[in-house]
Amino acid sequence: MIHFFHQLSSPRYFYDVAGRLIPWLVFACVLCMIPGLYLGLVEAPPDYQQGDSYRIIFIHVPAAWMSLFIYMVMAVSGAIGLIWRIKLAEVISIASAPIGASFTFLALATGSLWGKPMWGTWWVWDARLTSELLLLFLYLGVMALYNAIEDRRTAARAAAILAIVGVVNIPIIHYSVEWWNTLHQGPTVTKLDKPSIHLSMLIPLLLMAAAFKLYYAFLVLMRARCEVLRREKNSRWVKSLVGEAT
């Protein structure tokens, strides 16, 4: 096992393994997304209160979950890179930032599109929405900090520290709907009680969540491969890589 991780942390080995893994992840993602979309948009009945507008949930909630999940991946791998100086952890951390930012943007934008017909407003400065907006700024801050420093390893270290400090925001987002009296509805699925959602809506929601997670998985591998290429562009194995291609 340790041998496996040691091998995996070699950039060249990672580049190969990730390249072979990506098509399978794409396949699994499509396998979840197509039935997820069909069940969510066609089969699931309209909500008794919100009509068909609630179907935004199948985008909004998976995107919001991903915004938190990717942040944790970014912070934890950033910490691993910081403590054990593992280059690959740095690469994963940095590759996660723009993907996480885009899922956070998607959660905010679809929330807005859901809020307008249901609450009568695109935006309110309540705890859930504000803390999620702060999350977007944390992602953008990590990206800006990484790009502002010339040396990639120093940059990764600085970005990791910012990412770790920003972790305090994660429980705030999750519990915001319970700690404060907000316009945003309480948790539907992620609570200790039974989920307060019918199976016909829960199944497409979980399928879409799985699809989004798999989508992130191959995106982060694709971006990490690019980052590895960029860092290793002078090495012999990268040169032999194009030797085969041309």
Partner: protein, 55 residues
Amino acid sequence: MSLSEFLDMGGYALYVWSSYGLAAVVLIVNLVIPLRQRKKLLADVTRRVRRAARI
């Protein structure tokens, strides 16, 4: 259910379809960026290898 009924989304067509459309755009852009980046990086390496071979 007819197709026009489906597209109407119970009167919420604008909100529902903009959400799904936006999701599609975000996912596709995220996919295109690393694909183009990889192509560019490999082209860069190829160019440098050729230049080195000439010298």
